[in-house]
Symmetry: C2
Subunit: 253 residues, 2 copies
Amino acid sequence: MRKNNRISKEEKEFLEQYDVTKFERPSVTADIVIFTLDDSDELNILLIKRGGFPYKDHWAIPGGFLEAGKESIDEAAARELKTETNIDNVYLKQLYTFGDLGRDPRTTVLSVAYTALVPKHKLNIRAGDDAKEAKLFSIKYDVNGIIFTNENKVIFESDLAFDHAEIIKMAITRLRNRIDYEDDAFNLLKDRNEFTISELKRIHETIKNRTLDLPNFRKTFLREYVATGKVVELNKTITSKGKPARLYKYIER
Amino acid sequence: MRKNNRISKEEKEFLEQYDVTKFERPSVTADIVIFTLDDSDELNILLIKRGGFPYKDHWAIPGGFLEAGKESIDEAAARELKTETNIDNVYLKQLYTFGDLGRDPRTTVLSVAYTALVPKHKLNIRAGDDAKEAKLFSIKYDVNGIIFTNENKVIFESDLAFDHAEIIKMAITRLRNRIDYEDDAFNLLKDRNEFTISELKRIHETIKNRTLDLPNFRKTFLREYVATGKVVELNKTITSKGKPARLYKYIER
DNA sequence: TTAATAGTGTCTGTAAGACAATATTGC
DNA sequence: GCAATATTGTCTTACAGACACTATTAA
């Protein structure tokens, strides 16, 4: 036992570093902005009515505490997405980390925010075990900011819990800025293995919040995706109301 | 009114009784990729030789633990930048949050990484109080990845502590992707209030790692910055070796 | 037939890049 | 004069956007 008496300087330093309780640690949550398109091709987001304090009865984006040591932060986000929507293996990308003082009244809580893009038919939204409500809301804009609406409710951005309005706005901005040079839009297709140019165009229109010219969209689509091999043309068409449309398939990298 | 009182009391009790130990919390660090240009206009990065375990004697980017409750994560990054380089009020932007299991051998440590762009003459690098070395290294590329060099040392990316090589690579990629449509480059100018087009061009060349055509660069510069009012032309020239060059001034937003 | 949607072709303006030519300094 | 750097101008090509026109289906 006496041997421990003599501690080398190196070991002492190590032990000091090892004692992480020397610093006050924050709680960390993984929170997710889940986007989808509804049947009218409008941009929707999943919100949850909080069952407990703080911000009880306010609406928020889904999320949960990181269980440090048991999971990575990406895994925490994926777990939370699975819990709320029963899906996995979807597009899930880190957005930003929010860490202002006082953003959570309980204690210091860092939020590592993620964006998920999911076709609506894959969503299987669960009301949480603690009687939470979970609903999709359409995103509209007004002088005072974003409005979230569905058949029964209207939610103003100022009604959201925490700084979640800020998180959602950043997610929308990022999505919009990335749409022209990233493959994000394909993640919102009903079926990436069989889609038409018009379907993809409608997704771009929704995200950009403006109409696009179909002939020009086609030109860009053929150059950026088909000519580069990211998308292949199928020997197959689909007919709805007018001339049959050619089907394409997105090639996963 | 009675109802409101009741809710307030309920929430107050909740906040008081909130058990912060319910979830295992991670430690969080703010780590900074500090870029500057050396006198040969090469891209340099500040690295620190770690004085303690883990990764003792390995090189790392500067950073430190978030003191939860005392500072926001942005403030922690700014404090760390100030500690290492004695500068404040510089370009400091959040990059990404790294939270893989096992990225730190001690315990779960999330790293919120930031990028700083600083003109070299503003840097006042301190060797830390715990006998750490802090040096600028030039960034070169080789088959096995990035090499960091100065007059005395060569460091391979595999020698870096933690996942810091990954962080640095992401910072370089992001910087390169943003240079054409963000104002990042102006933060590396010796003096944003008096600079020539050639000076700015050299910064762009360094970040893009290729030479640019001066007449074409000028054309873009005049359209993107001068015509938009981001930069104003000064009634002043500077002469070094050839024809005097007109000076410009960057307008802070 | 008409309405609806898909697809082709043409024209214009803008911007990037290659590069020739000219201008102004120090030596 | 020459070397070095700054500045102007010209040409080509690529691409975005507007838009006219054709094609193919259902009803």
